[in-house]
Structures are given as C-alpha cells and as structure tokens.
Subunit: 591 residues, 2 copies
C-alpha cells in the first residue's frame, strides 16, 4: 500500500524563506510565524498521513454505491469525516462569525495540498462544500448566510456545484434546467445535472446544492442563467433540517478514478430553490469563486504528483535491479537499487523539480489571492486572474504526467493495482478536465486574460520576472537561474508579441498556440519560483543555516529544472510562431 | 460505445504508394499486389470492426476471473477466438509446413494493427502464441516443431512467455526458477513467474508455456538461464493432449487495463519441461524474437492511438459546444461542433499526424525485418536492430499520450467509462512497460545499439536521411518536408556526437540523455516517414490520381507534423547537451 509523508518542511521553507509570510503587510499574515504554521502543518500532516492516506486505496476499491436512492461511501470515510470536522479543518480560512478560523487563504492552501495528496476523492467532499460556502458568503443575503454557513463551515452540511447538463458543459448558455418563480419568492427548480461531485451521500445531515438554472422569460443563452440554493432537506425557520426537497440522485457514474467520491446524476423535480445573488447573473456569481476553485484544482496536480513521487522514491531505493554503469554501488547485494540508473534519476528529478516549484507557485498564487482580497490590492487581483488558467492548466497537465512517470518506475508493478500507483494516475486525470477543461484554460489565458485591462497584467508579470533577473544577475550562485529565466521569459514575450501582431487579423493564429503558451508561461512561472527559492537557499547557506543539506538539495534540484525543463519554452515558441496555417488546414471531414 | 473503422485505405497507401511492396525483390513480396492485400485487409477489417471491437468494452468491464484454478474469460471471447481461428488469422506469416500461410511479416503487421486497435486484450492471446511459436520455430528441434507448431499456428493451443519473477523483471539474472535435469532428458521446473499474459484460460485445448529457468550448477547470473517448453497438458507421443502438468495459475492480477487478458501468477511445481535451444543460452533464444515482439508492442501504441482518435473525431464533429472565434459555422444550431475550435484541431492534428507516420514507420520496420530474414540482408538486420527500441519506446510513449489527448476532447464524458475513452488510455499504458520498460529501450538504444558494429547502423540511418533530403531538395512541394527533416537530423547527429565525446569518460553523460535521444530519433523517423509519404502523395497528384482529396489531406497532415511536432528535437538536444551533471547531482537520500 502506498504511503504518504506530509511535506511540512518544504511548505515551511516556501512560506517563510521564500514568501516570508509573517513579514507581509497583508492583514492576518503577521500571525503566520514559523511556530504557528509549523503547529498547524504538523497537525494537518498527522491526520492526512495517518487517517486519510490509508483510506485512499479503500475508496478506490470500494467506490460509492447507490441503493434505493441512498449513496454509500467507502468504509471508513464517515468516521474520517467526523475526525476532520472535529479537528476544525473544514473552516480554516472561513470567517469567525460563521465558525471558521479566519486564517489566510495561503495557509488553507498549504493544508489543502496535504489533504488532496493523501486522499483526493475524500477531500473533494469538503472541497466542494468550501466552494459552495464561498459562493454563499460572496453573494448570499445575510439571512442566507446565517441559515447555511455555520453548518457548511463545520461541514455538518456539505455542498455541491451543479453546472453541467448532459448536452452542455463548457457552453452553459444551452442549459435547460428551469427555475419557476413562486409567490413566496422561492423557485421551483426542475432539470437534470450531471457529473455532480459529492452529489449525494450520508456523511452529512444536509446537502446544499448550488444549481445554475434559467428563469423562464429571461435573456437567451448565458445571460439568462441564475444561481440557486437548493437544499436536500428544506431548512426550517428555527434552523433545523426539515422536509426532503425534490432533488434526488438518479445514478452514480462509473469512472476512471476518484471512485471514493460520489459523482452523481442529480434530478431536480420542482425542487424548492432560493435565488443566490442577482437574477440572471448566475455565471458572474460562479466566476467570482472561479480563481480559487481553479487554483484548488491546480493544487491537485501538485498533490497527486507528490503522492506518487514519494512512493516512486521509496521503490527506486528498495528495488534491486541491474548494476550502475559506473560500477556496482551495492556490491554485497544481488543488484543495485534502481536509483543508481541515470534514466531513473532523470524521471525522479523531473518529478522532484516540478513538485517543489509547483508548491511555491501555488502558495505564491494563494498569497496573491490574500493580497487581492484581504489587502484589496487590484494589481494582485489582476495578476492572479492572469495566472489562474496557468495554475490550473499547466499544473494539472504536468502533475498528471508526473504520476505517469512515477508509475513507470515501478515497471509491471506500477500497472497492477496492488501498489496504488495506477490510482494516482487515474485520480489525477480528472484534474485536467473539471473546473474547465485545460483547453478552456488555455483559451481563457490567450483569448481573454492576456489582453485584459489593456494587457496591464501580463506586462506586470513580465516586469516582475525582469526585475527579479536584474536584481540577481550579479549575485553569486544565481547565474544558473537568472540566465535561463531571462531566455525563457524572452520566449514568452516573443510569443505574446506574435499573438498581438497576428491575433487581430486572425484570431485562430493566436488560439492555435494557446496550449503552447499556457505551458510556456507555466515553465516561466516555475522558473521564477526556482529563482526565488534558489535565492532563499543561498541566503540561508550564507547565514550559516543548520540545515545546509536541505538547501544544497534545493539548489541542485533547481539547477536541474533550469537546465533540463525550462528549455521547453523554445519548442513552444517555435510551434506558436507557425500560426494557424497547419492547424486549421483540414476541413472537418478530412479528419 | 466506441466504434472502430479499419484504416485499410491508409494501410494500402503505405504498402503500395510508399513502400511499393510488390515491386520489392524481397522473397514473397511479389505476391503483395494491391488487389491481394486489399482483399486480406478488407477481411481483417471486417472481423476486427464487427466482431472484436464490440467485445473490447465487454472485456474491460467483465475482466477475467479465477475460480478453483479455472480462468474464465469475458463473455464472447471464446466464440470470437473460434472465428479468428476459422478465418486463418493466427498463422498468416507462419510457414506453410506448420499450417501457416507464409505471408511476409509486413502483411502480418498491417493486419495486426487492426486486431490490436479493435481489442488489445483479446489480441494478446494470439499475439503471445505467435511469439512462443516463433521461438520454437527458431530454436526448437524438428520433433519439437512438429509436436507443437501445427496446433500453435492454428491457435488450437495457445502460448505464453514466462520471464518475470516477483523480485526481478528487467534483471533476469537473479531469477530463482529451477529446472532439474531428469534421466529421460526432460527437466522438472519449479518456481513462480508473475505477470504472465494469457497464462491460463479455457479458450484453447492446451497452453504451451515458454519458461526461463536455471539449471542447477550452471553459470551464475544471466549466463545460466535456459529456456524450456512447459505444456499445461503433456503432449502424448501420438500428438494428443495427455496428463495435466505441474503448472497452475495461482492468482489473476488486478490491473489498470487490458482486463480482458488474464494476467496470471503461474506456479511451477516440478512441472515437466523440455529444453528449447541450447543449455544456458535461454536469453539469446528469447532475444532472437525480441525485435519482432518489441515492434509488435510499438504497434500497440499506434493501434491504441488510432482507436481513440477515431472516436475523438466523431465526438468533435457531433458535440455542439461554443462558437467558432471567427464566426458561427453552424448558425442554425444552438452551437458549433467542437471541431471548429483551434485547440481541438491542434489536439486532433497531433493525433492524426502521429498515427499516420507511426503506421508508415511500423510497416517500414516490418519490411526491414522481412528484408533481414527473407532476403538475409545483414544491413537491414542491423538497421532494424537499431530502430527496434525507437519503435517500441517512442511509439508507446507517444501512443499513450495520444489516447490521453483523445480522451481530453470528450471532457467529463471522457473520464466516465461510458464512452470507452478511459479504457483506451488504461489499456495503452501497459505498452510503455511490457517487453522491456521504455527506460530499458532507451538504454538499449544509447548504451548498446548506437555503438553496435562500430556505429555502422546509426551511420547508415543518417546516410539514409541525408540521401532522402538530397534527392528531394529541389522537388517542388517537398520544401516543407526536406528542410525541417534536415534540421532535425542534424540535431540527432549532434546528440550522437555528444555521446561519443562524453560517454567514454562518463557513461552517465550519455545515459542521462537516453530518453531524450530515443524521442528525438523517433521524431526524425516519423519526419522521414512524412517525407516519404509526401513524396508519394505529390507523385500521385502529379499523375492525376482519382483520389486527390486523400493526398491533399496527407500533405496537409504531414506539414503539420513538420511544423509543429518535429521541432521537439531541438529541446531534446538541449537537454542532452547538459550531460549528467544536474541529473546525477543528488545522493540517493536527497530525493
């Protein structure tokens, strides 16, 4: 069975040595000193590695079952959910007035990485609840907040997001679910939603569904979509759980992975719903949480990669197979461990250098969210809005590839289910799809975000990279980082220029390169993270740190990324510069 | 449910327009005229698309079960196997004296692609039999051939290959299975083998296991390994099936995919075995079939990619979602089909341009095998030996990625099992692992094949590419192909030079780049294939072909590959040229 060790030391390094959270002026950050975050992360590490990780394989094997409308979750999930609730893990970054702990989002993200890594399917139950609660927090009336939030923050009630219908996912303007207004101000919601994660189960006393639907007579398409609160059980005036509402689970999907999460077909049959936010502004209400939701999914790419990598390292050290080409390293044994072989190293270094930079990238992004929300910094808001599709698309594409690499190290033992390596890839696969498939992320980045506010945010990003390079170009030890980052950043700017020059007369010329641009920008972001981490490690070493080995390892890992992974930007640029011609050459019937 | 259309037209194009099989002097090739191969391919297309493809999902869902030592295969498999046998598909390229049809290997490969694409798990039953029969054909005594081959060629008896043990896969020198010599010249084989595909089932009257084992007292390690024939039922002197032998299936593995094939733990308990080939030369006996077996697995990468791609194209044309950025293309409908979107095109073109070139590459490789064996051409033998790890490693890595891309086009519908897209990726995943994991292929290529016979074969390959470029540099229409191929080939040569200059003093410097070199060479091979296909299509168009659309599509697809995929060689070269320094920087405990 796979194991999971919480990466608390590395999280601490990013929070304190790189992001220097407790020195930040963002409201709430002064509380985030080393001792405090260490205590939180150690506790989170404990519950995730000891309670959630052992249930990961159980969830995969047993899956969820639907019998007579009741969904059974895998053995042990309910008890674990109780422990998570009792530990207060569900409302870490939620307001105190609703029972949360009002911690910055960055700490919630650090904790969230461990939850996702140890058990992605399980963590989705609380993740979806967090998303739904955030929507109510942002758009609900005071009464709605008081009615739903205390129980959602504690996860006594869980939440869901209902967007997709059988015939539409990305293009929600075509949705058919209807909400008929009633005299009492409520609505009757009818229709079918699919792919609803955590849609039905018995781990909580109530399930608060957020449902997108159209009010008859409203505007056509996406502009006529509104958001509704549709509880599984109507909440009585005294706050207790009342009558069953007209919503039920019609089926559970059989899927490639995340078997421990109940992915439901939800049928709404004149279910009572309450408008959340403004009429016909449902998409906007959904989108206000989108940055956070998408960063949460990007995090799953990192989480899956780390969980898989940790087990690959153990296997590569244990499994004896072949001899080092430079001479036996385990001469007493029948063979050397796999880790002596250069190609195994190459794979492990790919994984390690991705994971550590992705961790920094996610935490930096979370810090930007805090800066945007807590410090009301519009520039930070613009920057994170630009980077969100990169976090989501690049980290889940790469994260998935890393799970495949980790699985490959096990050879045939990675293909059978016994070692759990197959599950990491099967679970990680969904992150490339949900919360906007990665093609949609790339479209969002190139088709919308680049030009947003007159291109201000992408210019700010380029300036940020440039400033980092200028500041550090003469710092000893930084040459392995600054030069490659400069080159990669130049590639990215050249691609941006290409889009500007060609995208106006032919939008396809830009969009044909959207996937490459997203990956390119992802590499530049991780390159920047490696630059910042290298700087922090060089400083720690110069200051006579007691943990020189950690920082030496960090620098060596970073050098690998800069030398071996970052040069991918040249390839992406070459592809982008070919424009749309070869991409769009065929008629639909020529495929 | 996914569908499968046999690519007979494209196979015909490669066989006749590109490879010009019937004009070849290779013995047997003169029979391969257009009408003959068309008849064979059409028939194979029929049974694969109509009989095997519909069973693919069934096999995945039901899997194989072990009850009281008996393995049950999925519903319909036995009847389909009967049809395959009756159709004479199992001995296409086997000698007539044992009931085969003595067709060239290239035709067997063309047929094999369709079998694998329609149902990989099913096709493995006959594929393993073919491999075992080839070993007996190459190394068996006349008596052994007469005893086993007629029934194996017809698949009345099936075969298996038993190499892996729990503690060793790649490093077979450590194996523990023993073969004790008996007075009558036979052996008693005892030990456990794992991951034995088609190890036990009731679709055939007997199963002929080929088992690697050590004869006590022989040389240490890999040099003391011998190969044995161990039939499930002892064959009586009159050729009938006799007593049950001491071999049994201990368990069936739960695995990520190919559920329809029974992957068995096989226990040998003083089972009667017969030495096949020379004592202690078991590895050599296995390796003589390795080229063919590995090309067969490379073909699975192509097959899976094509099966997945075909369904992605159908979905992309059917699914209405969003509007073309250049204006509605389906203004009457609620949305445009997915295929209007540039990023969907990019993905489909990646797939299509890979599949068609991979098909040509596999068939060209098969032609080289025929040239080596049928025409006893040592140069062809050297060239295919060089390219085998590329066929296996590159095509299965890429093939897998293509199934992931095809799945991605389905969005959430690709993640649920309903559409069968998840199965294509789960099945394709094994091809990167078995018959030598792809890291071993890269090691074989860089650590052994490049320098083989003084580097003669790689020089021959470079010369072949160079000659093609020289011959076609002034041919109108070829400029989009010749220039990029020249650049990519130059990258490959530069990488080869780097290995030569650095590998001697530090083998790790070469092996750290082995995976990149394998991929680079794969791209150059596919680039060469696109060059040859473009040439053929330009000629067809110049000759006033009646199917101009086919050839125009071919050229456009090729241009995409040259413009968008081939430039990856520069990235691989950049990585290779960083040597081993960053790859090997960490100690094992620093990971």
């Amino acid at each position: 069975m796979p194991s999971y060790t919480a990466p608390t030391k590395d999280l601490q390094f990013v929070l304190h040595d790189v992001l220097k959270t407790s020195e930040s002026s963002i409201p709430g950050y002064s509380d985030l000193d080393r001792d405090f975050t260490a205590a939180v992360l150690e506790e989170a590490g404990k519950i995730t590695s000891e309670v959630l990780a052992p249930l990961n394989v159980v969830g995969d094997k047993e899956g969820c079952t639907l019998e007579n409308g009741v969904v059974r979750v895998p053995t042990g999930f309910k008890e674990a959910f109780d422990q998570v609730r009792e530990g207060g893990w569900t409302g870490l970054d939620m307001p105190e007035e609703f029972g949360g702990q009002n911690m910055p989002y960055v700490l919630g993200t650090a904790v969230g990485e461990m939850f996702s890594a140890s058990n992605q399917a399980f963590t989705m139950y609380q993740g979806l609840t967090h998303g739904a609660a955030s929507a109510i927090l942002a758009h609900g009336t005071q009464e709605q907040k008081e009615t739903y939030l205390p129980n959602m923050v504690s996860c006594e009630w869980t939440g869901t997001m209902n967007l997709t219908e059988p015939h539409c996912g990305t293009d929600l303007g075509m949705m058919r679910t209807k909400a008929e207004p009633q005299d009492d101000g409520s609505y009757k919601v009818s229709g079918q939603k699919i792919f609803i994660s955590a849609g039905e189960h018995e781990m909580s006393d109530n399930i608060i569904h957020l449902v997108l639907a159209k009010i008859p007579g409203g505007p056509e398409g996406i502009k006529g979509v509104s958001l509704f609160i549709v509880p599984k059980f109507i909440v009585n005036d005294d706050g207790t759980v009342g009558a069953r509402n007209g919503v039920s689970c019609g089926a559970i999907e059989e899927k490639m992975g995340i078997h421990g999460n109940s992915t439901c077909v939800m049928n709404y049959d004149e279910a009572t719903g309450y408008l959340l936010g403004d009429m016909h502004k449902g998409m906007r209400a959904m989108f206000t949480m989108m940055n956070e939701a998408r960063i949460g999914v990007g995090m799953q790419g990192l989480s899956a990669a780390d969980a898989a990598y940790q087990n690959a390292v153990i296997y590569a050290n244990d499994r004896l197979q072949g001899r080092a080409v430079t001479g036996a390293e385990n001469p007493e044994g029948p063979a050397d461990p796999l880790i002596v072989h250069p190609d195994i190293r190459r794979s492990l270094m790919d994984q390690k250098s991705f994971i550590e930079a992705a961790r920094a990238f996610i935490l930096w992004s979370s810090q930007l969210i805090d800066q945007a929300h807590r410090a009301e910094d519009a520039d930070a808001d613009g920057l994170i809005s630009l980077m969100t599709p990169v976090v989501k698309g690049f980290l889940t594409d790469e994260g998935y590839d890393m799970t495949v690499k980790a699985q490959q190290i096990f050879g045939g033992h990675g293909y059978i289910e016994e070692h759990g390596m197959s599950q990491f890839t099967r679970d990680a696969r969904i992150a490339m799809i949900y919360e906007g498939a990665n093609g949609v992320q790339a479209l969002d980045l190139v088709g919308r975000k680049l030009a947003q506010d007159g291109g201000k945010h992408v210019m700010a990003f380029f300036a940020l990279v440039k400033d980092f390079c200028s500041e550090n170009k003469d710092v000893e030890g930084m040459e392995d980082f600054v030069e490659p980052l400069k080159v990669a950043s130049k590639h990215l700017q050249t691609a941006g220029m290409f889009f500007m020059q060609n995208g106006m007369k032919d939008p396809n010329a830009a969009l044909s390169g959207s996937n490459d641009f997203m990956h390119m920008m992802g590499h530049v972001c991780l390159g920047l993270m490696w630059g910042r981490m290298a700087k922090a490690s060089l400083e720690a070493l110069a200051n006579g740190t007691s943990d020189a080995a950690f920082h030496e390892t960090k620098l060596a890992t970073g050098r690998y990324y800069m030398a071996r992974r970052l040069p991918a930007t040249a390839m992406h640029l070459a592809r982008i510069e070919t424009g749309a011609e070869t991409v769009m050459a065929l008629a639909a019937d020529q495929f």
